[in-house]
């Protein structure tokens, strides 16, 4: 790595994070399954299994619309769902800072249980470590999850084909703005809540609708921009998005204008981007809309061939011009300029 220390930017979900993953983890953990870099690992077993893990370090730990516990369960359930698996089992590992209040721990754990209940998954194993005050910030949670693959599902970021429709299950940027609104030194008041939610029901509805689903991914850190760029790069295609079709809540738009952020780069925790065969687009949207988390599902773009062999994401702007939609670079910081 070019830097000799880990910077905050390495955890941001954008290009610098990608570099960290490629240059450290992918290099050290060489495994054909991991190498596919999908949201969950699909491993052989008695049945086809999907297996994933993720750590959660959100600050503050309680935010409008959720908390670190709900996030830890939904995140892993969603990663499994994105690979076409039915989530089944979850592990939960906690790193807790000395002095953390039991009352708050209960709140977090109960919220995890409620989320697991809603998603129909079992938390089957776990671990707890307590570290000295100052060695962790309140509480960190890692969850791993196992799901059973739906027979015949072939869902991967590399499966986009020219002509496919790009669908998103709702508005963008809600989670990131909700969390930011409570950050120290940035206090603004908004009724925006995190969209944090388990999406396995919604995904099941889409797959059961019979739509030919090529790729699924939840646009978490790095936002919609990162997910679309990952799709474009892994499939070697152009993803063309129509800005007028992308839904951004008024308050999210207001907060982004104020802080100089791009809603396309702000995190979501309860949204999915689905790429489906063009003929099945309406069917997939209708299926999403049957879920409480997909009421505002919509088609936002199409997949096209990369004429010069250069995969990219383009955005047709509200004024009718076209520009590139690039990935977030480094950490998202509020700016004045």
């Amino acid at each position: 790595m070019a830097d000799d220390r880990v910077l905050l930017a390495h955890g941001s979900g954008g290009k610098v994070s990608h570099r960290l993953i490629d240059e450290v983890f992918m290099k050290v953990f060489t495994d054909p399954v991991l190498n596919r870099q999908d949201d969950a690992a699909v491993v052989p077993g008695g049945e086809q299994l999907a297996f994933t893990t993720d750590s959660y370090v959100v600050k503050p730990i309680f935010f409008p619309g959720g908390d670190i516990g709900k996030l830890a369960v939904c995140g892993t359930v969603n990663d499994l769902s994105m690979s076409g698996a039915v989530p089944k089992y979850i592990s939960a590992a906690f790193v807790i800072e000395e002095g953390f209040a039991f009352a708050e721990l209960y709140r977090v754990v109960e919220s995890m249980a409620a989320a697991a209940d809603e998603a129909g998954v079992a938390i089957v194993t776990g671990d707890t470590k307590v570290v000295e005050r100052g060695s962790a910030d309140q509480i960190f949670i890692n969850t791993a999850g196992v799901g059973i693959m739906r027979p015949g599902a072939d869902i991967a970021a590399a499966n986009l084909r020219p002509g496919d429709a790009v669908i998103i299950s709702g508005s963008i940027g809600d989670h990131g703005v909700a969390v930011m609104s409570t950050r120290e030194g940035l206090s603004f008041r908004t009724a925006i809540e995190s969209d944090c939610a388990p999406l396995n029901g919604l995904i099941a509805a889409v797959i059961d609708s019979g739509a030919d689903v090529h790729a699924l991914r939840d646009p978490t850190r790095g936002g919609l921009a990162s997910t679309l760029n990952e799709f474009a790069a892994q499939s070697g295609v152009v993803v063309a998005i129509d800005e007028t079709q992308v839904l951004v809540a008024d308050q999210v738009a207001g907060a982004c204008e104020m802080l100089g952020l791009d809603p396309y780069q702000v995190a979501n925790e309860g949204k999915v981007v689905a790429v489906v065969a063009a003929a099945d687009a309406d069917k997939a949207v209708a299926a999403m809309r049957t879920s409480p988390y997909g009421r505002e599902a919509r088609i936002i773009g199409i997949v096209a061939e990369a004429p010069d062999g250069k995969p990219r994401v383009t955005l047709k702007t509200t004024v009718g011009t076209t520009r590139i939609l690039d990935m977030l670079v480094g950490e998202q910081l509020p700016r004045i300029c």
Partner: protein, 81 residues
Amino acid sequence: MCLGVPGKVIAVKDDWIAEVDISGVVIDVGLQFTPEAKVGDYVLVHTGYAMHVMDEAEAMETLKLLEEMGAAAELPDGQIS
């Protein structure tokens, strides 16, 4: 070089602070540079300060002008005014 966002003054508090609503996001804004701002006014917010009270009539005027410009361009003999 300087992001500025229009927001509506919804309350004026002590110590030169007003609450300003930017499409549903409410923040505290300093009124030192726009002491004339009152509840209901739109102000330009830059780094937590109101820098100017928006002139609604001028905004409407500009939009009207823009419409006319575009319309004029559509006339077959659109001339430079």
